[in-house]
């Protein structure tokens, strides 16, 4: 079992009109960055680094970062900068990027170089991940949406070649043409760092990940459709000549542990406050659907079973007619949010693991309107009481992570071995 820690790193400014306590409804892609206070941001960036450092101390295997652009709900728009800092200030945990926006980058070789440098600085602790992004991301850097999927795939091929083949070489692709590809920085890990792919709705992305034998991480989706998506992955793996298992599946879930049940509930509810994250069911945030679902960005028809969840649709600008926004209680009831004392959280986590059977679990905490103290209390209790027991559950339930069983080959890996191989074909 690989256990990671994640927060969106929200821009929390209680003085801002859009902060959760105001209950003001906020539409994404409307806010001006005139509201940005660099003093607030300075404190927050450093707070989140402190929490990541503590998460490593508490025994998390991975520190996950993501990127969203032109929005206060994720401060890590250039998450590679955060990853580079983590590479220097942490010593053991993997740095998990879920992920970089392949289709939005105008020069994938620049990205290949950045990631190689982070991998080298961290001495081989980087896990790369690729995403296609929503309309917000394409707009923020003016990436032509009808070619998003083509650009994603071509950038991936170019980056992997850049990492693995001796340069210089010339690249003449449909979307990228480079005369001289020969960056000096190459990955520390050989043949290159592991690649994981997060996803929510797109069948194409899941299929692509399964064909490449890349672990597929479902981000805050309901348990039952998540399980169904892993079944789809398993079938694609079978069709492509290999056996997928828990090492190929990741599951992100919101978890908050606290000293009493009452404090846990009151604090976990803050997950749905803060600067209006439209991906958080029950959060105040809404989107302009025609901007999130820009023309040609992704298929509206070839979608995964997770299509039944309102937040999955709303966050991507797809019609939510017939859906009502979920409440905190709804999410608690379906284990979309797990909260409580260590004892009750462990019972809920055990049930989730039995149902979903992932080999990678990403704990999403410290988000929304949660304070630093809220996050640190939970991290402390996770380290002392939750994570050790979760690892026992994983052994009992036979849920190996991708550093125990190779997701590409199914081969057992020793606990001290190098990261799993990544053939990518």
């Amino acid at each position: 079992m690989f256990i990671g820690y994640f927060t969106e790193r929200p821009y929390q400014d209680p003085a801002a009109r859009f902060f959760g306590a105001s209950k003001e409804e906020l539409t994404d892609l409307v806010l001006s960055n005139a509201d940005y206070d660099s003093n607030v941001a300075h404190d927050l960036y450093n707070r989140y680094f402190d929490e990541k450092l503590y998460a490593e101390q508490m025994g998390f295997d991975g520190l996950m970062l993501n990127e969203h652009h032109s929005t206060p709900f994720t401060m890590g728009s250039v998450c590679n900068i955060e990853a580079a800092i983590l590479a220097r200030i942490t010593s053991r945990a993997k740095i998990v990027l879920l992920g970089n926006l392949l289709a939005v980058r105008s020069d994938p070789v620049f990205l290949a170089e950045e990631l190689a440098m982070i991998d080298v600085i961290s001495k081989g602790r980087l896990i790369s991940g690729w995403v296609r992004g929503t309309g917000r991301e394409s707009l923020s850097h003016n990436a032509q949406t009808p070619f998003n999927w083509e650009r994603f795939q071509e950038a991936h091929e170019l980056i992997v070649k850049t990492w693995t083949e001796p340069g210089p070489f010339r690249w003449e692709g449909r979307h990228h043409q480079l005369r001289y590809v020969n960056p000096w920085a190459k990955p520390y890990q050989k043949p290159h760092m592991p690649i994981w792919v997060p996803g929510v709705l797109s069948y194409n992305t899941l299929e692509w990940a399964a064909r490449k034998r890349y672990p597929y991480i479902m981000t805050a989706t309901d348990e039952e459709p998540t399980r169904q998506c892993f079944d789809i992955y398993r079938k694609i793996a079978n069709d492509n000549g290999y056996e997928a298992g828990p090492q190929n599946y990741g599951y992100m879930v919101k978890v908050h542990v606290d000293e009493t049940e009452e404090l846990a509930e009151a604090t976990a509810e803050k997950l749905l406050q803060g600067p209006s994250n439209p991906f958080l069911e029950g959060n105040q945030g809404t989107v302009k659907p025609w901007l999130q679902a820009l023309p040609g960005l992704s298929s509206r028809h070839n979608m995964l079973p997770t299509v039944a969840a309102r937040a999955n649709l709303a966050g991507r600008g797809i019609s939510t007619t017939g859906f009502t926004p979920g409440t905190y209680q709804d999410q608690r009831a379906k284990r979309g949010i797990i909260a409580g004392t260590p004892k009750s959280v462990l019972a809920q986590l055990r049930a989730a693991l039995e149902n979903v059977r992932p080999g990678i679990i990403m704990i999403w905490d410290g988000d929304g309107a949660m304070t630093h103290d809220d996050a640190m209390r939970s991290l402390r209790l996770m380290g002392s009481e939750v994570l050790p027991r979760v690892r026992e559950f994983a052994k009992e339930l036979d849920l190996p992570g991708p550093f125990e069983v190779d997701p590409a080959t199914g081969a057992n890996l020793s606990a001290t071995s190098e990261p799993a191989s990544v053939p990518g074909d």
Partner: protein, 158 residues
């Protein structure tokens, strides 16, 4: 095409054309606008929009707008609806040209008409009162009259 194949073309009539970067303002961005809001902006007034588009929720219309928007995103993502090279090409064109514009155009600024007139060596401008961007819908008769007159004049001269 008109610049390079003028033996086959008698005259050019351009109805609120895209292609030049406006000196003033911007071309309304179909990518950024909600589909119906964009459609509405193409008419001179709310009344005209309602007269020409009685059912904006019509599914077939919505699908058509979706396809239109995707096509725009494919062929004119950036720069949006103009070319820095076009003025030079237009300068080589000797055909008689008429640029027609609605004075109430909210998609491409009507002031762009003067830029076209400056770029085309043999061009006159016709502005239509009370018309928006969709001249073919809001000023169909005037547009047809101008077009016929332009081609008759060109044919007589030819």
């Amino acid at each position: 095409m008109a610049a390079f194949a003028h033996p086959e073309i008698a005259a050019l009539v351009l109805a609120a054309p895209a292609g030049l970067k406006p000196d003033e303002g911007f071309i309304l961005d179909q990518v950024m606008e909600e589909q119906i809001a964009y459609l509405r902006a193409g008419f001179s007034s709310a009344e005209s929009f309602e007269r020409h588009v009685p059912d904006p929720r019509d599914k077939a219309l919505r699908e058509q707008l979706d396809r239109s928007r995707e096509t725009i995103a494919r062929v004119s993502w950036k720069p949006y609806m103009y070319s820095y090279e076009l003025p030079e090409t237009l300068g080589e064109m000797t055909l008689p040209a008429t640029v027609v514009w609605g004075r109430e155009d909210r998609v491409i600024p009507p002031s762009s008409a003067a830029q076209w007139a400056a770029a085309l060596p043999n061009c006159n401008v016709r502005l239509i009162d009370g018309a928006g961007h969709f001249l073919d819908l809001e000023a169909a008769e005037e547009l047809a009259t101008i077009t016929v007159a332009a081609f008759e004049a060109a044919t007589r001269k030819g």
